[in-house]
Assembly symmetry: C2
Homo-oligomer: 424 residues x 2
């Protein structure tokens, strides 16, 4: 089955909007084992739309068309499709009634322009959109089914999941069963991961993929067919055994999601004192609703005075060892933990750059500590030649991993091959 996509809209073509819809669709279908083959992006010009529909339908079996289903004059996907096929637009009575009903339910008056959204090419099959006013539809032209979807990401995702995937499964009957395991790793480069995993003999139907989203690399273990799916769990166990402490989460989008989930369920409380990470540890957790149940506070004590006044760090420690030191970051973690007697506390202090480094402590030097009710754990790592942003996000990931390991009652500090440490 040859799958293609046609994205429409001036804003996407001109770069006013980054096309996250296209990436989401391709990625979602890839996880089902269906590969995107080709993508065309055109603006709101009738001739370009008609030409793209006519041209690509010669090659593809199925084309997802995204956008241009709204009520305004620059929404022209339905009309362009009708022209491409040489047929008329016809009002779809079912969708007109749906629109009237939708506006009545929302106590709003329907503008005349909205009626346009019920006009479909004569040969179109309507595709339901239970979450919006844009009607989906599909039309056969040349070799291909063109499947029209709304540009609003939320509506698109519903339609792909609930309508498109069942349609192609039935229409093309090609979709084997598949399953996917995702492992989030830190501290290894992609080639180092691939080298390590090269000693596994993969059963037929199982493939490994890598996706870099720094500070993480995600490993996808993809199984196609019943036999491969039965062996997926064994292969996953092998991969985890070979990678050891590099694997920090299973089937989670980020390490912050893993930490949120574990803390939320554990009943333990957390406080954070950040310097170089600048609030990143705290704010990635606050992104999740429910974080208030465990997060006492996150104090970005950027200045030395703040470390002394707010966290109670002894000024002598700062004088003797500097702000970026094991001693300071341990005092920060213990200080912030003590304020509300939290179960755990994380602290960071480092040189994110591009200025501020010295020979002893170059840019990328970061001290990280975890305090518990029973003690404090710390390390000072070297993250040279990274951007300011990456120094901060890698430091955040290491801090989260220290907490994660403490929650699992494992050794808090471990070696990551690509992240050297200062001797203590």
């Amino acid at each position: 089955m040859k799958l293609e996509m046609i994205c429409t809209g001036e804003e996407v073509l001109s770069g006013q909007i980054v096309d996250t819809n296209a990436a989401w669709v391709a990625n979602t279908l890839m996880e089902l084992g269906i590969e995107m083959q080709h993508r065309v992006t055109v603006g709101d010009r009738m001739d370009d739309l008609v030409a793209a529909f006519q041209e690509r339908s010669k090659y593809a079996d199925i084309i997802i068309v995204n956008g241009g289903l709204g009520p305004t004059s620059d929404d022209m996907s339905a009309l362009a499709m009708a022209k491409a096929k040489g047929e008329e637009l016809v009002e779809n009575v079912q969708w007109r009634e749906h629109l009237e009903d939708w506006f009545a339910r929302n106590n709003r008056v329907m503008a005349k322009s909205n009626l346009k959204q019920a006009l479909l090419p004569a040969s179109a099959v309507m595709v339901d959109n239970p979450v919006g006013t844009a009607c989906g539809f599909r039309v056969k032209l040349n070799n291909a089914w063109l499947f029209f979807t709304p540009g609003v990401p939320f509506e698109l995702k519903h339609m792909i999941t609930e309508q498109f995937i069942p349609f192609i499964t039935e229409e093309f009957g090609v979709q084997e069963k598949s399953a996917l395991e995702k492992l989030l790793t830190i501290g290894h480069g992609e080639s180092s991961l691939a080298d390590t995993l090269s000693e596994i003999t993969l059963p037929a139907g199982i493939e490994l993929g890598y996706r870099s989203s720094m500070p993480h690399i995600e490993i996808k273990i993809f199984a196609r067919g019943d036999s491969a799916i039965r062996q997926l769990s064994d292969v996953t166990t092998q991969v985890k055994a070979l990678l050891g402490c590099a694997v920090v989460a299973e089937n989670r989008p980020t390490l912050a999601a893993e930490i949120h989930h574990r803390l939320y369920q554990s009943g333990f409380s957390l406080s954070v004192a950040e310097s170089c990470t600048g609030g990143m540890i705290t704010s990635q957790l606050i992104d999740f609703a429910g974080s208030s149940s465990y997060l006492h506070h996150g104090l970005v004590t950027y200045s030395n005075e703040s470390k002394v006044k707010v966290l109670g760090v002894n000024p002598q420690i700062l004088d003797d060892h500097g702000a970026v030191s094991i001693q300071t970051v341990e005092a920060m973690a213990q200080g912030v933990r003590g304020i509300l007697d939290s179960d755990f506390a994380l602290a960071t202090s480092g040189i994110a750059g591009p200025e501020g480094g010295s020979d002893d402590k170059p840019v990328g030097t970061v001290a990280i500590a975890l305090a518990t009710k029973h003690g404090v754990y710390s390390q000072m790592v070297k993250l040279p030649k990274r951007s300011r942003q990456l120094v901060r996000s890698m430091s955040t990931a290491i801090a989260y991993d220290m907490l994660r390991r403490a929650l699992l009652e494992e050794a808090v500090i471990v070696d990551y091959p690509s992240i050297p440490r200062f001797a203590k």
Copy 2:
């Protein structure tokens, strides 16, 4: 001049990477008045690349091809171009010497595979890449110049700015002089901005554009040609007069950048106490190198206990008025300002949702305060029907704007049409 783009690479097509290169190129050229007309995205398959080059070169005058210039086997742009034109790959001696020199300078041994990067189609004109090992080039096929650029964003940006734009300026001679003013606004919807500005009679050659990047809408005032450029400043003044306090920055990408710039230059210090914004006010400033010169600390006092212990908020205030109240947020701002006697302090407390609302204070209720050495200013706004993320980013923008206005010695609190306030 018809400009198109062909993006190559499995990772971009399959959605492993969101195609920010395409958006950057289109947006950069749009700001010069050159419109992107069509974009094709293909994977690393020879037939698809050859077909795209042959097909699109019939329609376009110039095609930017991005990616596929690296040393590995899935980098096949040069070979595909040679096949599309029916010619051989030929070693470019100048680039081979450049590669040898580059590796020697960097004390690295050149792998044999890198020599591939000096192989160009026979009729290609080399395009210099002073910041990487991938050689750019251009080839004429059918109606079009195909202009090959590296996939690494940093290298692409150099090549577009330093090589591509001068080339099309000379080759097509079409580029009139142009100039652009960008105004960042908050508190108005796009249609409200457009309505307000409809009373300006725009001189020939001047166009207005809108770009929504919530919580902001950016207005672009684009002038093409000498006469329009001379009138750009007048039009900008008119726009600003009509929009009043909606305009919060000029030619800055974000309001945080504006605040960073003003604080950095002013010598004033800032402290922040955040609840619902969860560190966003602090972390957007820490993104900028140099923020340590003015930022004392940013305390995310998420729990009531933390507001009392860390900021010194009187527990009676929390009992009487609740955490989300004018009284609490004023006490937070005054408390955090007092710790290190900062010149300014911002504080937020609100209900970001999706849970936690009440009839009195529904989700989207946010109290925001600014404390100075001379007093405290506060307001409680209503941001209903927004996502958790948007409640937080709009609250951050309003807090920044209060500080911005204080730094300008203007009224701290103003009316934004789309953001209602609770009566005090």
